[in-house]
């Protein structure tokens, strides 16, 4: 990095990392004097690290709970919390040939051998999947396998070990086989993905500038293309 460059380090939940990566590339092209470094892990891990003093400038969480908790703990810059995207849940049936809609989905799920979801305890997409299954009165689901996060959930299906599962719409580009169906928004509570700027950041100004970029039209288009809904 050039001496005059400002470096901001962003902790980002794994699911949003590819998208944020694209965004930061755009951003850096526009702002040559800034460099954005991404550090990704599961939301829970990042949260723990931030609580223990991790040197990040901002935190892109996969939920709204952790940013709020950090805000309560006084670790975030006041009024910096934004909702940058809404996660969208998709059902992927790998071996399924027919079309899926709200009438057939329950039958399909009942017949599925192994259903892969993210761990509801640790991943917001998992919680959403659980709400969907509850709505269909399929909870507790007997043949459930749980990925640690949404990426692992996809891998279980991708590698053929699970037949179907609830994944993120942002992952659609990786799905080459079978059928997908976007779950109606009403079936689960919105997956509100929020971000905050951390108080201990040395580069609040630059970070704030990046946050402004995230809310720009250009950025919103990229986020939308990646498969997220935009905050109202």
């Amino acid at each position: 990095s050039l001496p005059s460059q400002k470096v901001i380090t962003i902790a980002v939940a794994s699911n949003f990392k590819p998208t944020l990566n694209r965004l930061s590339e755009q951003y850096q092209q526009q702002n040559k004097n800034q460099k954005v470094v991404l550090s990704s892990a599961a939301t829970g891990v990042l949260f723990t690290q931030i609580r223990q003093g991790a040197p990040y400038d901002a935190f892109f969480s996969a939920d709204s709970l952790r940013p709020k908790l950090l805000e309560h703990a006084g670790l975030s810059l006041p009024n910096s919390r934004i909702t940058y995207a809404h996660g969208q849940l998709v059902l992927w049936a790998r071996e399924y040939g027919g079309s899926i809609h709200s009438k057939t989905v329950k039958l399909l799920l009942q017949k599925t051998t192994q259903l892969s979801i993210a761990n509801p305890k640790t991943a917001p997409y998992g919680l959403a999947a659980q709400q969907v299954l509850q709505k269909l009165s399929l909870w507790p689901y007997p043949r459930l396998v749980m990925g640690h996060n949404i990426a692992q959930t996809l891998q279980f299906i991708q590698t053929g070990n699970a037949a179907a599962g609830f994944v993120a719409k942002a992952q659609l580009p990786f799905i080459k086989q079978g059928q997908t169906w976007e779950i109606p928004q009403a079936w689960y509570q919105p997956i509100e993905q929020q971000a905050i700027i951390l108080k201990r950041s040395q580069e609040t100004e630059a970070t704030q500038q990046f946050f402004n970029f995230i809310r720009s039209k250009k950025a919103q288009t990229i986020i939308k293309q990646a498969g997220y809904d935009l905050p109202k």
Partner: protein, 230 residues
């Protein structure tokens, strides 16, 4: 103090650790023996191969095993045909993964133990009519019991602490493939620190006690007994 799933996780972990250790204690001695005695050119290559699981991060090892276990792969589909169930997300898959993962911990101490057995004693035993099997059971095993204990405890401990491979292969199914390490990490991730701490404390105390007992008992019989004789 513990939820039912925690207790199930403890049971599964112990079962997994015991079975893995047992199987490794059958599998590793022949490999270690061969490695410690062969003059073959491929020895050092096999040695390196055995050490490989150490180098691949467990999660990555788990990922590749997941590919291997998939019904789309020859191995996974053969297993499916034979047993009617997949390897992934099943206990047997965890066992296989753990065996891969802990193999170096079984082979290395045994190999160095075997290597240090005085060759003169082996010669004495064979001239006394001991077949290779008898040499093993009556001379080498008793003289390297210490290495066996070390190998077994390392395997056991390492399987208990295993996380990445199980995370990838197990699918975190409570009561079936959810082991302590994953339950514990789940607690940490979901901010249930109290439960995490208490599970960790029990794990540490239990393991410490077991190891202490093993090492303590073994030490009793040790002293300088085997030294300076030949």
């Amino acid at each position: 103090m513990f939820s039912a799933t925690d207790i199930a996780a403890i049971t599964i972990t112990l079962k997994l650790a015991c079975i893995t250790t047992l199987l490794l204690m059958l599998l590793a001695p022949p490999i270690a023996w061969w490695l410690s005695h062969t003059q073959s050119k491929v020895r050092s290559f096999v040695e390196a191969l055995v050490a490989m699981p150490l180098i691949l991060p467990p999660t990555v090892l788990g990922f590749y095993l997941l590919l291997l276990f998939s019904p789309n792969s020859p191995v996974g589909s053969a297993w499916l045909q034979l047993t009617g169930s997949t390897l992934a997300f099943n206990f047997s898959g965890l066992v296989i993964g753990s065996i891969f993962y802990s193999l170096p911990f079984a082979v290395q101490p045994l190999q160095s133990g075997f290597h240090q057995v005085d060759h003169g004693l082996i010669q004495a035993a064979t001239t006394l009519g001991a077949s290779p099997w008898n040499v093993f059971t009556r001379v080498i095993f008793p003289l390297t019991k210490r290495s066996f204990i070390i190998a077994a405890t390392l395997c056991f401990a390492h399987t208990i602490g295993e996380f990445g491979v199980v995370l990838m292969l197990g699918g975190n199914i409570p009561g079936k493939t959810q082991v302590i390490s994953i339950a514990l990490f789940d607690h940490v991730e979901s901010l249930n620190y109290i439960q995490a701490h208490s599970l960790a404390a029990v794990l540490v105390l239990f393991s410490l006690t077991v190891l202490w007992l093993v090492y303590g008992l073994q030490g009793k019989k040790r002293q300088k007994k085997f030294s300076s004789v030949s």
